[in-house]
């Protein structure tokens, strides 16, 4: 898989999760599970590049970081409710 293919796949995975009505913010681990062909390091590099391109954004509680599509999804409280 090339980096561009991996980036497209990451977006696809997150979009599919949103469409299914699931979480709009995902951990790197959640992406890894759906793309077993790529190594965790490749995935994090590609996901971080997508952030730089403005196609993804970080969502941080301070202690952990999730990735989401800009403008899609729920606010701070709901996303981190499970952590508290």
């Amino acid at each position: 898989m090339t980096k561009e293919e991996l980036k497209a796949k990451i977006l696809e995975v997150i979009e599919a999760k949103v469409k299914k009505g699931g979480k709009t913010k995902v951990y790197l681990k959640d992406i890894q599970r759906d793309i077993p062909g790529a190594s965790p390091r490749e995935i994090k590099n590609a996901a971080n590049e997508l952030v730089r391109e403005g196609k993804l954004e970080y969502f941080s509680s301070g202690s952990t970081v999730m990735f989401g599509i800009p403008g899609v999804g729920i606010g701070v409280e709901e996303a981190f409710k499970k952590e508290e």
Binding site: K44, N48, V51, G62, S63, V76, A79, F80
Partner: protein, 432 residues
């Protein structure tokens, strides 16, 4: 700036009565002087939290600066109408220099910038080690970041699922006991792992800490996922003359650190020999001579700290690498465990870097969300982690106590012929 609005804060004000300088005084004095409404609003919100016995901060969110996935922590008040000046009160973590040596001009400039861009309130330092800039609004984040990096040449520290800002003790810059150059190793690894520091990579946080000697002033063994502690492999150097001088009361023990009270005459047996954790020391009263069985010594440094003029660490020095300390989250708090008891190190520490990547690769692949590396070791077992993941031979230093359990489980490849057996052959010998 106009007049500030003060809130009634009797419970918070009560904290000013104690014997120590109070943050309440500091924040009010600063707020008055600079007419910062945020200072009065955080005190007002704190009073309300004392009353309700719950926090009124919400944390987290999308805030950050471009290209960085760490260093900024979103914070909002849930009492926005009452305390409008702190409706957004984001925190920035600023990476501290190794050993926390600052040039006062740099600090002054940092404070001036923060007074202009944010609340002006700072915390030196957060528990990981960073300088914490407390409180600004979302619109100021990029400007603060630009000023910080381009004008003042500082950088943000780590937060979230990143490598957190590494921290070390004062090391050779101040301390006679530094057994390796902690500041150099801290700096080198910080620069090498910039990507992991600024962009989320892991299932959860990861911390490096470096202590120059086993006295461990940065409390690495209690706080860091990976600790590097200075140690030595040869014998403790003994100056018998100086030992006798301690025994005869000519030199104060602990370099005089406890001389504010009369603790009675120095008793080498009670204060050194009996406190040696491995019981490897012997004081011959007749000979007036100290013996150390260095093979048993675990390099805790207790004896050296009590009699620094008589005892010195050996000359063959390196680091002990430990893994897995953490506070509570998934599992309870735990201390580190020894991974490599002794390793000679040299810049640029390539061997260590490779070793770190090996740990990370496994953890990134197999760690659950919010599982620290110490917890994955707990889950799979130290033996498996050492042998299968890091490919190192287990050694006695990895073991806390000898096994009590009588069963030994073999793996198939360890048994000649594996699990398969010839039943016909077996029946020839055991016909029933």
């Amino acid at each position: 700036m106009g007049e500030v609005k003060k809130h009634d804060t009797p419970m918070v004000d009560d904290l000013k009565k104690g014997p120590w300088p109070s943050f309440v005084d500091d924040i009010y004095t600063y707020g008055e002087k600079h007419k910062k409404q945020a200072c009065f609003d955080i005190m007002g919100q704190l009073e309300l939290s004392y009353k309700h016995k719950e926090t009124h901060w919400k944390h987290g969110g999308i805030v950050g600066v471009f290209g960085y996935g760490g260093g900024v922590i979103g914070r909002y008040s849930d009492q926005q109408e009452r305390f409008p000046a702190i409706w957004a009160f984001h925190t920035l973590r600023v990476h501290h220099p190794a050993g926390k040596w600052y040039n006062t001009t740099a600090l002054r400039k940092l404070c001036e910038m923060w007074e202009h861009r944010g609340s002006g309130l700072v915390n030196f330092h957060g528990s990981t080690g960073d300088i914490i800039l407390l409180g600004t609004v979302t619109e100021q984040l990029e400007y603060t970041f630009y000023d910080l990096t381009h004008q003042l040449h500082w950088d943000l520290g780590g937060s979230g699922s990143n490598l957190r800002s590494p921290a070390c003790c004062m090391g050779k810059s101040l301390c006679q006991w530094a057994l390796f150059d902690v500041q150099d190793m801290d700096y080198e690894l910080t620069m090498h792992f910039q990507d992991e520091l600024h962009r989320p990579a892991f299932p959860y946080k990861f911390k490096f800490k470096f202590s120059g000697c086993p006295l461990d002033c940065v409390a690495a063994v209690a706080r860091a996922d990976l600790s590097f502690i200075g140690t030595w492999i040869d014998d403790i150097k003994i100056d018998q003359e100086a030992v006798r001088a301690y025994v005869n009361g000519e030199i104060p023990p602990n370099a005089g650190a406890f001389s504010d009270r009369d603790w009675g005459p120095f008793d080498i047996k009670k204060e050194v020999i009996d406190l040696c954790p491995t019981q490897c020391m012997y004081w011959d009263e007749k000979e007036q001579k100290l013996y150390i069985n260095n093979k048993e010594c675990n390099r805790c440094m207790h004896c050296i700290a009590v009699m620094p003029e008589a005892l010195k660490p050996g000359d063959d020095r390196g680091v002990c690498v430990l893994i897995g300390a953490k506070s509570v989250i998934l599992e309870g708090a735990q201390l580190s465990t020894v991974l490599i008891p002794f390793m000679r190190v040299e810049p640029p520490y390539d061997e260590l870097k490779d070793f770190i990547y090996k740990i990370w690769d496994y953890w990134m692949e197999n760690g659950k969300n919010r599982e620290r590396v110490g917890e994955i070791i707990q889950r799979i077992g130290l033996n498996k982690f050492l042998v299968d993941v890091l490919e190192i031979e287990p050694i006695p230093q990895h073991i806390l106590v000898p096994r009590a359990e009588p069963y030994i489980f073999w793996r198939e490849e360890e048994v000649p012929g594996g699990w398969a057996r010839d039943l016909a052959e077996f029946r020839k010998r055991h016909p029933a």
